[in-house]
Subunit: 582 residues, 2 copies
């Protein structure tokens, strides 16, 4: 830092693609500080070294940062003491701020700039202070690419490329920079294994009218697949050449990119004469609308996932006394049961198996330090999902292992009402997620309850479990303002978290489809596609409307009908009982 | 135009304050074309003269423009053939577009510029081609200003000024330009009579840290009121000097203004070195939150309005056979009954009394050309409001004059459910209108029905009946994304319009207040404050939930209780019957 004359060096959580799951090569903060949470920012100055993270990691950071030399700063948005605020308080006018421009998005840099407005700070964005000193750094991933067959993808890559180009033409834009790995996987019908929890291949792409540049080592492709891509007009170039290639694009041409997922380094290598259009990526918008083949496959993925979940909960109930379970051992068992299903690739995110007070932490994920032994009673929350060739799943069930308290029953029933009322929504075409969110919360609000996260996120197809651009949320942002369209797959996951006691969340995936068209316009509805029983022991029927009760009974009948032939006799009898009408 | 070398001259509907109601002096389009609708734009070129208006005025424009020399262009947003599209299609590159910059807002000019991007047109914004040829133009209004006493306003002007300055200081802004008349009235606790339907005085103001410039002829103030303003540090300057004074503000200082209500002329007179902040005005945000005195007064205004409405509907029922009624005669009768109430100033908007198919036109207002005789049966929609010293009212009731059809009963009940469900909303602090809108529509949507306008607008206090910044609407805009706060007065007006048959709308004003605070946060609710019975003959009780039925019975009990002492015996008996529990 002294050589570079930097006053403050920022290490964000991020890799050059700014996705959710960071490959080991880019997990700088865990290596440097020992803190392993999924969200943190480190600031180093001559006299200070600190780490910021949010409330879900307060306990963990406190433990992991002890004796690390890094001060732990609790990030509390209410008082705004985030790292940007710290910078504005502690840097003098004219300071130099350094970071590795490959790991920070354009949007984030702009937020930092806006907050430091008036301080006349300057940014040094090409300072990689880590690589030289991180001697045992894990190598960059270099898994093989594989074809994602059209029997799953539903649409040839050539058709997808034509669609993207058509939209570029309409907007009179010459190039489209793709930085999100799932966009690239979707566009070329390929998958890889570079990133945990998502079948992705590390790469960039630039789509032009006549040619597509794909930045990835050709050696990672089998020749047959490379030839296929070549036929599509795809030119493969080394990954490291992305910046250089961007800087040689035609003067005065135009390019579309998303500032949320484009790094400062790539952005800054675009020639200044080019016109830059900022928006969600076109593949991002297109892949959010699942096609007919994908939808049929999603139905199969849900059956597979439902079988694994049913066998899991059956096994748990049968062995609740005889075996000693912990949160981690249950997560392993559930994953093992998913592996019995054909086409299962692996978990779609770190499974949350959370017992009693742990279930009150919305983003808890069991770790050896926090692992709890599952007792004979209490609340168990299981939020998990799988990557299948038939699609990506994400489902949460909360069950009671003994006799629930009246408050638990009331809370569960209110959450269930929220889940059902969003699932039952019927709305005119053009409606947005921010409008629908209240359906899942209304009954909670009436009782003075609420939950601090969104209600629904988009879900990929054998891609990321969190996929944009749509979102069902009260937060006012471009995602929640995205129009919900037929073919979108979205989670429906209202919840209640009672700190120190328990949490309840019920999550299904819902698929939007076209309903009737009347003189007042086209209407849309949702199908609930996740398949697993909902614990009736936690339901107070007297709180449900007739419509809600009907939904539950119909849902349970469907779960039984779709799963029964894949179960053993004892499992089937058990599920019959769990899915009986109330 | 030839002298000025203008290729196209735009005449928008607008005055220098860009409010909803245009004083006669600025009603250029009716004088020029004969068309009297509230929304139109005229374009004149060497070879063309046309008028654009929206669907609610298609019939009227067709009649009124006959033989006017102006071509009537139907403005259909679906195919985008608005006047801007026409300009982009018909003007050649490099054309000159002229308009009177006093009558077009900055936002609107930007929209025109954006649409003509690439055509390299230039704008001549100081071209008033009308004044010279309009020889019998009505003079500008010059009503007297009067004090609006603090027993109604609830807060001294000095306190309001301090609040505005406090907010300016926090944002480090030097000046605040006020262009909306109601903002100025609110700030100084004055009223006037320059504009139809709102008690406003034509004026501009610039608020600075030490001094306030109020642009209005001092002769319009009684000396006592002028002295009061002088004590507040208000300097009165002639109205015509606003532009000139703006142009002399300190170099490099900053100013806050709203581009929605600031004219191009005023905007362009701001020195280029000044930093311009754009937002809703501060008085606009402050006055949306009614204070305790205003809220108590609103209660009184609602009683007065409720008495007039009850007497009106009683009289109508008693005289439905004996007298011949038309839409216009009923509107007059209702206004006369409001005039019997103390503190009534006049109607707060052009009343809508609409019979049968006329009620299916959401923005219909009776006129001699369209006036209908009220028959013995059918649907009658009455949307009206008054300006009282105690506040502004706005209420819609739809009644059936004979035996309703099953479809009318079903439609009415669904609209009523929407009205009740928004009124019953309980939501956490921080919720926005776009989130709440669905509560009023959900039951309609489930039956494939909808209405094409927003659900709720803010309402002023003895000021404009449509007041920002909040709005309850599915439209994604800054108004619907404004957070709903305790003290806001908002309309709740779901509807159904069946073209050629009838329309149903039920509108009450609802007032937001703080409800309980729980560990999950502060919650808010609404009080329904409008007071008039809802026609039970149109209600199908079997479609109402217990909660909805309870709301209706409680509401009716309150209406009766609050109005009974102001009614004659026969009126009281009649209202008792109308408000009996169902």
């Amino acid at each position: 830092m002294q050589t570079s004359r930097i006053d403050a060096y920022i290490i964000p959580t991020g890799d050059p693609h700014l996705g959710e799951n960071i490959p080991d090569h880019w997990r700088i903060i865990p290596w440097l500080t020992g803190f392993t949470g999924s969200n943190a920012t480190v600031i180093v100055t001559d006299t200070f070294a600190g780490l910021w993270t949010d409330s879900r990691y307060f306990v963990q950071a406190d433990v992991q940062l002890r004796d690390s030399g890094f001060q732990f700063v609790k990030q509390d948005t209410a008082v705004k003491n985030d790292f940007i605020w710290w910078l504005s308080e502690n840097l003098s006018t004219g300071s130099k701020i350094g970071f590795d421009g490959r790991t920070l998005s354009v949007s984030r840099k702009r937020r930092i700039e806006a907050s430091l407005d008036g301080k006349k700070v300057s940014f040094i964005t090409d300072e990689d202070l880590v690589s030289e000193i991180w001697t045992d750094r894990p190598p960059v991933s270099d898994s093989y690419a594989y074809e994602f067959p059209v029997i799953y993808a539903g649409k040839e890559s050539s058709v997808k490329i034509a669609e993207v180009r058509e939209r570029l033409r309409k907007r009179k834009i010459d190039y489209h920079l793709l930085t999100s790995l799932d966009d690239i996987m979707w566009l070329f019908n390929i998958r890889g294994d570079d990133v945990k929890f998502s079948p992705l291949l590390t790469s960039f792409a630039i789509v032009g009218e006549l040619q597509i540049l794909l930045f990835v080592e050709e050696s990672r492709f089998h020749s047959r697949l490379a030839i296929e891509l070549d036929k599509l007009g795809v030119v493969m170039l080394p990954y490291e050449e992305t910046s250089g290639m961007l800087s040689t694009l035609a003067e005065n041409s135009s390019i579309l990119l998303s500032p949320l997922t484009t790094s400062v380094s790539l952005f800054d290598s675009i020639p200044r004469s080019m016109q830059i259009f900022e928006d969600f990526s076109i593949p991002g918008r297109l892949k959010a609308i699942k096609n007919k083949v994908e939808i049929a496959n999603i139905g199969q993925a849900m059956v597979k996932d439902g079988i694994a979940l049913t066998k899991f909960f059956y096994w748990l109930e049968e062995n609740s006394v005889s075996l000693l379970h912990t949160e981690l051992s249950l997560a392993e068992k559930l994953n093992a049961l998913r592996y019995e299903q054909a086409g299962y690739i692996g978990p779609s995110f770190a499974p949350i198996v959370a017992y009693n007070e742990n279930s009150a932490l919305p983003h808890y994920s069991p770790a050896p330090e926090t692992d709890k032994i599952i007792g004979p009673g209490g609340i168990l929350l299981v939020d998990s999902g799988g990557q299948y060739f038939n699609g990506t799943t994400d489902i949460t069930r909360t069950i009671c292992l003994g006799n629930p308290t009246p408050q638990q029953i009331r809370d569960f029933t209110l959450v269930l009402k929220g889940n059902i009322n969003l699932a039952l929504a019927k709305m005119p075409a053009g409606s947005r997620g921010i409008q629908l969110d209240i359906l899942a919360r209304k009954d909670l609000w009436e009782s003075g309850l609420n939950y601090g996260h969104g209600t629904g996120h988009g879900v990929g197809f054998c891609l990321n479990v969190h996929e944009g651009p749509q979102s069902i949320s009260p937060a006012d942002n471009p995602e929640s303002r995205t129009i919900i369209e037929a073919g979108m797959l979205i989670s429906d996951e209202p919840a209640i978290y009672r700190e120190g006691e328990y949490g309840i969340r019920i999550e299904n995936l819902i698929l939007c489809y076209q309903d009737e068209e009347t003189e007042f316009g086209q209407f849309l509805r949702f199908d609930t596609v996740s398949l697993c029983y909902i614990d009736r022991i936690l339901i107070d029927k007297s709180l449900l409307s007739m419509k809600e009760t009907d939904w539950l009974n119909n849902y349970h009948a469907m779960v039984y009908e779709k799963l029964t032939r894949f179960l053993t006799d004892p499992e089937r009898e058990w599920l019959r009982d769990k899915t009986n009408a109330i």
